[in-house]
């Protein structure tokens, strides 16, 4: 077993829907309806991971590399 790094990934299956809501350890969020796609996004960190203010749309073009941001 490796030493804990505090890197926690979380995926909530939103009740009453087929939607998965993922939160990366950096704080970036993403929604998907396919767990394979969700894990690809999650593990792609920091690619396509940018903290979003809640008022902005969730989806971002994933082809643009983003600088990693850290959760507070």
């Amino acid at each position: 077993m490796s030493a804990p790094t505090g890197e926690i990934y979380r995926i909530d299956w939103l009740p009453g829907t087929d939607v998965l809501h993922g939160t990366c350890h950096c704080g970036a969020e993403h929604t998907a309806q396919d767990p394979v796609e969700m894990w690809e996004w999650m593990l792609g960190h920091p690619e396509g991971h940018r903290l979003q203010p809640q008022s902005q749309p969730q989806s971002e073009p994933q082809s643009q590399p983003q600088s990693p941001e850290r959760a507070p």
């Binding site: 077993m1 990934y9 995926i11 009740p15 396919d34 394979v36 894990w39």
Partner: protein
Amino acid sequence: MPHMTAFARNQWYVAAYSHEVGRELLGRTILGEPLVFYRAKEDGAPVALGDRCVHRRYPLSESGLDGDRIVCGYHGFTYDRTGACVYVPGQKRIPRTARVASHPVVEQDSLVWVWVGDPALADPQAIPRARHLDSPGWTTVRGMEPIDADYGLLVDNLLDLSHETYLHGGYIGTPEVAETPITTEVDEGAGIVRVSRHMDDAECPPFYARSTGIAGRITRWQDIEYHAPCLYLLHSRIAPVGVLPEADGSDPNGFHTEITYAITPSADGKVYDFWMVSRDWATDDAEVTEFLRSNNHTVVMQDVDALNLLQKTLGSERAGYQELSINIDTGGLAARRILARLVEEGDKPVEKAL
């Protein structure tokens, strides 16, 4: 082509229950390595050695003990508890290479853990705990079933409990299990996958109805904690519907059951399924103990039969067959990925400090 998940070396695995390791030699194959276990007379500690005599590869587990030494049942080659050969028949010179491997062993929480890999890397502090297995206030029933299936199939099975509804209906499965969304959390560095399913208003399955006496519907929580690669903990809480833990965190009206599995890969396409059910309620009730033992054994055998069949079926598939994952598989996919990382780490040559 048989379905096979690579083995993760340089990890701790449950080799046996404490009560299985005594003065009778016990043979177990772990990660493809035949090992022999016994308990030393000298200090009561478990010993794990390679299970093949260096002479003609006779299984030492089919041999005998002379004090704390194993005497090979074929020609009498004799090994001490460190694996060194201390006697060969008919001559005084013992070849320098006459030694079987000795594996680090730790006995903890009524489990005997063995390290498979480079002994210099074995850190007993890294072994995950399952204290309920031998803590006062808890009663445990347990068993072990060998399965002729890849260990990855057992990991898949245990990380996605929606199968309870279909494979274990009438025992532990009810419609709500498959219908209720899960949350999945991965602690990357610690190698832990957590999958939670909280059912607010569910049918009480016979496994719990008959053992707890709850007649109506229940609040049922299933919180999985998988410490890859070997230890799986399912924290189960049930209570009459709407009955929640108190504000101070105490939970006098909840029934807590700890379902523990140790998933120990044996050989390619074979796994040891160690199963344990511990409870903090009706702990002295022998009837409840026997009911849970027999009921859970039936449930485990339903899994054994299903995984034996699945392994056989996958073995007849063409290479590159497709599978399809949906939301219920979110935790299982996470576990597969963590295992792949541990396999990779275990295969890397390790630089030793000078």
